[in-house]
């Protein structure tokens, strides 16, 4: 099927060794369009459900008293949590000069940008009066953790969009030079990039600054989201561990989502040469570490609550351990800790099919974690209250499905216009990284002693 055709200007005489990375942009197959159609259908159904909710009110959801927050807030935390994949991983790996990051960073950054937009919309979806959403700007109170959220999510959105765009400029310039259509888009977005040394300097300076800035902003985002819960007095929420807990959980779920995305697009676009087993193995090791960290924090949280035996706190904990939420709770522990540790700690099972299974499990498990944080504390109030279990309604489920569809669509749309793997960084890796890395590693080793006048080996002092 004809996708983006090559325009009048001549292609480079020799084909780039990275032709595979241009193919998704320049040759889109029918599968792309079928998938997009299916996802759009899901999206539009969810949008219709939202319009229905807009006109009828939040009664179409399953929320009630005392469970006044449900799917929308759970998914809000879930999606924003995944956003930590991108920018944090990309920034941290770049800062550490980890060479295996090269094919990963672009996809990670795209995940962040898309998921922030989707997650950031969820509090609006949750509002009883979304037509008054502007009240937040007119009458906002910065004492409210929701306002902190508004501030930090918009800051992260700005920072991560810029952090996605700036390293993409050289790739956009490559597309421009190949004459890929639409030409005006790539000419405009490439911002006069010609690859001159001066421009390289500007780019690397900007990237260095951004990758340092983006880390505290990203950490602040999920910390502030955790403060929505931690700054109330509710049992199970008012806990000092929430900040680090949420950030660790976000990084964890983010890496898992990144893995799934990488594996899927590797298969679909045949990136096997670029996303090799070693990349997945390294990320899997990171994910394993995060699984242990997550378990440590979860364990601390519940042990503290359980040991203190404070009645309200204990009610909530037992609701999760043995009460109505026992199944999701133990499933969460199984998917987030037992499965990753069992499978990823052995080299033999640290292979792509196993990693896919484990990552999907973690994505589900981390969603369950958000469910378990939000609902039980509300379902078990301090005061005696008739119990009303929370079940999500069709509206909530279809809006969740629509959000996932929107994520996939956003990713596919990006893949249609921009390279999913950073082409210039791969080229840079081929040309200079090996040399630079060898030099760097050599610099860690002890310096050679002073050579003697001839080229013989230096003789140690005193020995003869």
């Amino acid at each position: 099927m004809r996708g983006n055709a090559v325009s009048e200007s001549p292609r480079p005489l020799e084909e780039s060794p990275d032709e595979a990375l241009y193919r998704p942009i320049e040759q889109t197959g029918p599968g792309f369009y079928w998938a997009a159609a299916g996802l759009l259908a899901i999206f539009f159904f969810g949008a219709y459900q939202y319009l229905r909710q807009f006109s009828l009110g939040l009664g179409v959801t399953g929320m009630n008293q005392p469970v006044t927050w449900g799917f929308y807030i759970i998914n809000f935390v879930f999606f924003i949590g995944i956003s930590h994949a991108g920018t944090l991983i990309s920034a941290i790996l770049r800062l550490n000069q980890a060479e295996w990051r090269r094919p990963i960073t672009r996809m990670a950054e795209v995940i962040t940008a898309i998921v922030l937009l989707i997650g950031g919309l969820h509090p609006i979806i949750d509002l009883g009066r979304p037509d008054r959403a502007l009240n937040i700007f007119m009458w906002g109170r910065l004492q409210s953790p929701l306002l902190w959220d508004v501030m930090s999510i918009t800051a992260y959105l700005a920072a991560s969009t810029v952090y996605l765009y700036v390293p993409m400029i050289p790739d956009i310039a490559k597309l421009r030079d190949r004459g890929t259509r639409p030409r005006w888009l790539y000419e405009f977005l490439s911002w006069n990039w010609q690859g001159t040394p001066r421009q390289h300097q500007v780019l690397s300076r900007a990237m260095n600054l951004l990758m340092v800035l983006v880390i505290p902003v990203a950490v602040s985002v999920h910390t502030v989201i955790s403060y929505i819960f931690a700054m109330t007095l509710e049992a199970g929420w008012h806990s000092t561990i929430f900040g680090p807990y949420f950030v660790a959980g976000a990084i964890f779920s983010g890496i898992a989502c990144l893995m799934v995305v990488m594996i899927v697009f590797r298969k679909v676009y045949h990136f096997e040469a670029y996303l090799k087993e070693v990349h997945f193995a390294n990320l899997a090791k990171l994910m394993l570490v995060m699984a242990v960290v997550w378990f440590y924090l979860t364990f601390s949280e519940y042990l503290t609550g359980f040991f203190g035996q404070e009645p309200a706190e204990l009610d909530v904990i037992m609701y999760k351990f043995t009460g109505p939420y026992a199944f999701p709770f133990w499933l969460m522990v199984f998917l987030n800790f037992i499965v990753p540790v069992a499978i990823l700690s052995r080299k033999r099972t640290r292979t792509i099919p196993w990693i896919l299974v484990v990552s999907l499990g973690i994505v589900v498990g981390m969603w369950l974690e958000r469910l378990i944080i939000v609902v039980p504390s509300l379902a078990v109030p301090y005061v005696p209250f008739p119990s009303h279990p929370y079940w999500p309604s069709l509206a909530e489920i279809s809006i969740f499905a629509a959000a996932i569809a929107a994520f996939c669509l956003g990713f596919m749309a990006f893949a249609k216009f921009f390279p999913l793997i950073s082409i210039w960084e791969i080229e840079e890796g081929r040309e200079s990284a090996i040399r630079e890395t060898s030099a760097r590693i050599a610099s860690y080793l002890p310096d050679d002693p002073e050579p003697s006048a001839s080229d013989e080996e230096a003789v140690p002092e005193g020995a003869k």
Binding site: L56, G57, L58, G59, T61, G62, M63, N64, Q65, P66, V67, T68, W69, P123, D126, L127, G128, R129, P130, R132, A133, N135, I136, M138, W139, G140, R141, Q143, S144, P145, L146, L147, V150, I228, M231, T232, L233, E234, L378, P381, Y382, V383, P384, F385, P386, H388
Partner: protein, 241 residues
Amino acid sequence: MSKELSESGLRHRRWGMVIDLDRCTGCAACVAACKAENNVPEVSPEEAQMGRVMSWMRIARKEVAEGERASISMYPSLCQHCETAPCTWVCPVHATYKGIDGIVGQTYPRCIGCRYCMAACPYTVKVFNWSEPRWEEALREHTNPDVSLRYKGVVEKCTFCSHRLLKARDDAAVEGRDVREEEYQPACVEVCPAKAMLFGDLEDEDSRVATAARSPRGHQLLEELGTEPAVHYLDERERRV
């Protein structure tokens, strides 16, 4: 807020309530009176089953241990109008706030329906309009004109019938004086057949309400949280010795 009060020259007051649980029979006349006075909408049986009853006041059941036996006690649960109200900390748009004379107010036109205050309230006393509220024909004709009718998507709660306070203040201002305690009583207090509820100025040490609040039978809900509610409960079983 105290700044407003001192500017208007009125004495600093804190309206509060004492409910004598040893007199309360659990008849829920207060609940009915509150609904009628404040135009609280009704819900269908299905919605009630789901847990969406719209009631600013409710009779809560509490199990009390007495040695080896347990007994059930009931208490009217309403907004406690806390001195340091967690709901007011978290509202993003200043729709719930600490208002005149310590009453925690609710501004319906500004509420965006985020329900954060509902999640933050440890007493679970706030209710939400999940759909467009409706009243049965007969009730619709007899709504209280002093209380605004709400609409879907906003939070509401007990206001200590502050519309009655505003009316009393207006009347008193005409005569150039302050509101007298007996001129302002919420509907629930007024209607209680067991005379179990007292309402007045907790700051006035000589008032009946302040005296009753100091009783050794007196306690407050969730005192350990430090919210400093304006509602005191008298209960022989909780007598401080």
